[in-house]
Amino acid sequence: MKNSFDEKILDEAQDWINANQKVVLATVIQTWGSSPRQVGSRMIVNEKGDFSGSVSGGCVESAVVSECLSLIKDNKPCKKIEFKVSNESAWEVGLACGGEIAVYIEQIH
């Protein structure tokens, strides 16, 4: 049953690339405690900040989008980001559920 919903995200990534958009792929690579999305969950972001898919239940998506935009701007290939509930910016991007997740973002080039 795994990889069910996110399977479509990679297809969508290719559609975006075919439409000449810059695409960053975000993947949940580790989780601790209770986190809404399992390891392997995916989201894509383009240079305009449009996104599809998810890496959490809406808790950290906005932060992932801005990280992805920086990656495109600085032209870096990849980055690992960890989100914890105890982050200083917890009110803004923390995980309300108390879990922790690590998200890997990479440019598709």
Partner: protein, 226 residues
């Protein structure tokens, strides 16, 4: 990830091949790995760990490394007998889940391509139809015709081949009669009792999409139990 790798992943997915994506989180390199082969280059020393992830059907970072493994396994095969109205809603629900659906119905006017675009519809009697489908204990059967001529041979095939989920539509009375026929055909009582009949979890609804939802909910639940 390179565009070439993405294209390769999509190709492997559409051909239902089992594979894994290996990613070096430090430098961003990624490779496609096929089970039973040796991982290439920088991933070669993690061969045992990668195989372990594959066997447990899990995704994750290999311990004490910066290597992320994502495995892709084959979807679960679900055979629907009866290209009826409920089947159309089942197909819709199954689209967003990892099920691969085939439909069997010998009645040509039901089993039309126009009613089921993109789905394998076999317009034959179950006995002949099963010759065209590879099945095993990871296959599920949903019998929807409640016509013994069509459902019974399919149910018998599924029982003999130990499908992990077998469900049959019909009222309690219909199901009692069905169980009686299967007993007369020589099936053991625990085999007969493994059939989910009347099919689906109790939601209370009676419309076609509601029945389809109750069936798909039971199927997902049983899939996680197996």
């Amino acid at each position: 990830m390179k565009i070439k790798t993405l294209e390769e992943i999509l190709k492997k997915k559409s051909s239902k091949t089992e594979f894994a994506i290996l990613t070096n989180l430090e430098n961003g390199n990624s490779e496609i790995y096929l089970p039973g082969t040796s991982p290439k280059g920088e991933f070669s020393k993690y061969a045992d760990e990668i195989e372990k992830f594959f066997k447990s059907k899990k995704n994750g970072v290999i311990e004490n490394s910066e290597i992320f493994v994502e495995t892709y396994i084959k979807p679960i095969k679900v055979i629907i007998v009866g290209a009826v109205h409920i089947a159309q809603y089942l197909v819709d629900f199954a689209k967003s889940l990892n099920f691969e659906i085939s439909i069997i119905d010998p009645r040509g006017y039901f089993a039309s391509e126009q009613r089921f675009p993109d789905i394998k519809v076999i317009n034959k009697w179950p006995k002949e139809a099963f010759e065209e489908i590879e099945t095993n204990s990871s296959t599920a059967l949903i019998a929807l015709t409640h016509d013994p001529k069509i459902d019974d041979p399919a149910l018998q095939y599924a029982l003999k081949n130990k499908f992990y989920y077998i469900g049959a539509l019909g009222s309690k009375k219909t199901h009692e009669n069905r169980c009686q026929r299967l007993a007369e055909a020589g099936f053991a009582i625990d085999e007969i009792n493994s059939i989910h009949g009347p099919i689906g979890i109790k939601l209370g609804g009676k419309s076609a999409p509601e029945i389809a939802l109750s069936i798909i909910a039971q199927l997902v639940s049983e899939t996680y139990k197996k």
